[in-house]
């Protein structure tokens, strides 16, 4: 449903342009204490799930069944929302309306009830959610002692009041926090209040007695929330990390090769470690030189420490995925140069830049990567490439190749590096292969770029896969359309054997292994049918269709005829039955 902005409803006058979900959320807020908490939770869940109409009808059903009396303002807003959602107004006509709603005053406990603090367990339960939801500014807990609604649940009932800023999403916050609590075995109603919007009496009274959950604790502060968020993602990443654990050793050998020229390389292992556990270690690197020098000796311990730093966690995430892909080539070189030439303070920036380019290599953000590389590594790169280049480059290249094989450069971050030490020649291959496995022309272009780091990266991105595949596809497309008009147009272009081969070659470059296999199978089938012309005619409809799709040329000779004869094929009707013989 589109969310139409309007300025109707309680509290909406001050917020023109409010979207429908927020209006419904505000309406639900005004119902708090007068409907049972489960009804509000269900309605908010529907609201957060973009089921606005269902949420409104559910709310109306609860109001009708519970004989809840609304104020004219509330009913008017509900009617407006029903109209906006094209819902049947008959349902809300039965809701009782009064000029002034006299709702009893709810009682809230100040502090613990029966020895149980309202905030107990809440912090731990919502920690992972707080890291995801934006602009949460405060959280309060309180026990409500009085029942709410005609079908109230048991009391005391826990309430969680969440304050959000303008960047927050009230419906989503209410649902996610409530769901997180429920999963943790905590039944509570979550009331999300927008900063700057005057709460109703119910919420004001609750706030008077509520206890605030300290956001300063670990995992709650904003900066901390982000780390918590990072940690959550790290966890999934770690499962994938199992391969990385093996990688660190791999990386080390690469370092060793590099280190051999350079005696002091306690620092080198760090840069590599980040690949396995990128966020943590890399972050410390950048900071280590700045804040604490002693960390360098602790290549591994920093892992524990890095988490505490909160502002940085943002960096680690990007690093993870990126380093796996591109690191092999560039990370090592920058390391070499950086470690040798520059002091620790300088090292930090270098590390950052090196990491960045790594990321860029795999994706398609070459431009940004190249620049940082050039800046930081310009000097070291040439020197390294000359002396150490063989060792470093070799691992890098093989690593890339391995990544290619896996088609999952993602996973193969560690593997490529290991292999790379064995093979020396083609970094370029690896790089090229990553984006697009088969791109011979690209490779030729890249080799020159290899010598200077910055230059290398640029040529890759520019000349590589992105440009090449596009033109190829374009070429293939024009051919396809004719082939689709099944018989007549398709066969003609296909007749040209050279065209077919070329197109197939292009297709091979573009398609992945699975698609290639499919093409091979198709070609095999075509060859069989070519050998057996009569049989092919009998089942011509199938073949004709395929040729029209994938490669006209390949199927040109034998299949064209069935296609041409097979206008019957169009609707999938069995053409082979008698149409061919008859024809």
């Amino acid at each position: 449903m589109t969310q139409v902005a309007r300025g109707v409803g309680p509290g909406a006058a001050s917020r023109p342009g409010m979207v429908l979900p927020v209006r419904i959320h505000d309406l639900l807020l005004s119902m708090a204490g007068r409907l049972d908490d489960d009804a509000l939770a269900d309605a908010r869940q529907m609201l957060a799930s973009a089921e606005l109409d269902r949420s409104l009808e559910f709310l109306a059903g609860c109001l009708v069944a519970g004989r809840v009396v609304l104020s004219h303002e509330q009913h008017g807003e509900l009617a407006t929302l029903f109209a906006d959602m094209y819902l049947d107004q008959d349902l809300i006509d039965r809701i009782m309306v009064t000029d002034r709603v006299i709702a009893g005053r709810h009682r809230f406990a100040f502090g613990a009830v029966e020895g149980l603090d309202p905030e107990r367990g809440v912090a731990d339960a919502v920690r992972p959610v707080l890291g995801v939801l934006p602009d949460i500014r405060s959280m309060w807990c309180v026990w409500r002692l009085s029942p709410a609604g005609p079908a109230s649940g048991p009391v005391p009932h826990r309430m969680v009041l969440v304050g959000i800023g303008p960047g927050g999403f009230a419906p989503a916050t209410a649902y996610r926090v409530e769901d997180a609590l429920r999963r943790a075995g905590i039944r509570a109603s979550v009331e999300v209040l927008m900063d700057g919007v005057e709460p109703g009496e119910y919420h004001r009274e609750a706030m008077r007695n509520a206890r605030q959950i300290p956001f300063d604790g670990p995992g709650f502060n904003r900066p901390q929330v982000e780390p918590a968020y990072v940690a959550a993602r790290i966890a999934p990443a770690r499962p994938s990390a199992p391969p990385p654990p093996a990688e660190p050793p791999r990386l080390e050998p690469a370092r060793v090769s590099v280190v051999q020229p350079d005696p002091p390389r306690a620092e080198l292992p760090r840069p590599e470690l980040p690949r396995v556990e990128l966020p943590r270690e890399e972050v410390p690197r950048a900071e280590v030189p700045r804040v604490e020098l002693p960390e360098p000796p602790r290549a591994e311990p920093p892992r524990v420490q890095p988490e505490p730093p909160r502002a940085e966690p943002l960096r680690p995430e990007p690093l993870r995925a990126e380093p796996l892909r591109a690191e092999p080539l560039r990370a090592e070189q920058p390391r070499m140069s950086v470690v040798r030439d520059l002091p620790p303070a300088v090292d930090a920036p270098r590390i950052d830049t090196s990491e960045i380019p790594l990321r860029k290599d795999l994706p398609f953000n070459d431009d940004a990567h190249v620049e940082p590389h050039a800046d930081t590594h310009v000097d070291p790169a040439p020197a390294q490439s000359r002396g150490d280049a063989p060792t470093t480059l070799m691992p890098a290249v093989p690593s890339a190749a391995s990544g290619l094989v896996g088609t999952g450069g993602l996973i193969g971050g560690a593997e490529p590096e290991e292999e790379s030490p064995v093979e020396s020649a083609p970094r370029v291959d690896a790089v090229r292969t990553d984006p697009f496995p088969a791109a011979p022309g690209v490779r030729a272009v890249e080799p020159p770029a290899e010598e200077p780091h910055a230059v290398q990266e640029e040529p890759r991105m520019d000349s590589h896969p992105s440009p090449s595949p596009l033109p190829r596809r374009r070429r293939a497309e024009p051919q396809d359309p004719p082939s689709r008009p099944r018989l007549a147009p398709a066969p003609v272009p296909e007749s040209a054997g050279g065209v077919d081969k070329h197109s197939q070659a292009f297709v091979d470059d573009i398609l992945n292994t699975q698609e290639r296999n499919l093409l091979k199978e198709l070609q095999d089938e075509l060859a069989r049918r070519e050998q057996d012309p009569p049989s092919a005619q009998s089942s011509g409809s199938w073949q004709v269709d395929r040729s029209g799709r994938h490669g006209k040329p390949a199927t040109a000779g034998p299949f064209d005829q069935p296609n041409q004869t097979g206008p019957m094929i169009i609707n999938g009707v069995p053409p082979h039955e008698r149409g061919y013989p008859g024809n």
Partner: protein
């Protein structure tokens, strides 16, 4: 109106164990609150969303109860049919392993609420657990009544909710109704909820 309410109650009774408790108790609460028009809009959509197939008998009840109450005919016709419902996803026991040595305050309150009601035929209790072994053990209150089943259901549900059962399982069966496999299994493993109290009005 009464006919439609009775038909809808029978339909909701038959959906026990097939619709999530969280939704089923709410729909029954609406029926007890005479919000048949709200049910007419919500129930077909719920059946469709939960992908619950209904039998021919249930389809007849659905149409009889909700079509005139404002239900979308398109949604009603979209609910898939099934020949019969044989599978029960739950097992029932007469005692809860979790409450062996605890006082049954729910039974006390239910006994107080139901005392002296002429429409009651029998009040029994059973404990339900999912066949997978997952999830909590849920008390199922099995009441047989002669009239006012929908209203009694809502009343008992609210009592149980106030006592801490957020999604109460209250099955008020009209006397003489053909029971579903779910209810037969529950009754087979049930015990009197109010021992010592003669409910049957004979």
């Amino acid at each position: 109106m009464d006919d439609r309410v009775d038909a809808c109650h029978e339909l909701l009774l038959r959906l026990a164990g097939r619709l999530p408790d969280r939704q089923l108790w709410r729909l029954r609460d609406w029926l007890a609150g005479e919000a048949l028009d709200a049910l007419a809009r919500a129930l077909p959509l719920t059946l469709l969303r939960e992908r619950v197939a209904i039998t021919a008998r249930e389809s007849m009840l659905l149409n009889a109860a909700l079509l005139d109450a404002g239900a979308d005919a398109g949604r009603l016709h979209a609910v898939p049919w099934v020949d019969q419902i044989d599978e029960v996803d739950y097992t029932f026991t007469s005692e809860s392993p979790e409450r062996v040595n605890l006082g049954d305050s729910e039974a006390v309150v239910l006994g107080a609420v139901l005392h002296g009601r002429s429409e009651l035929v029998d009040v029994r209790g059973s404990w339900r657990r999912h066949r997978s072994g997952l999830g909590p053990t849920t008390r199922i209150v099995l009441v047989t009544a002669s009239t006012g089943c929908a209203r009694l259901t809502g009343e008992l549900q609210r009592v149980l909710r106030a006592l801490g059962t957020y999604e109460p399982g209250v099955e008020v069966m009209p006397e003489g109704i053909e029971l579903t496999p779910y209810h037969r299994a529950a009754l087979a493993a049930s015990e009197s909820l109010l021992p010592g109290v003669i409910v049957h009005q004979g």
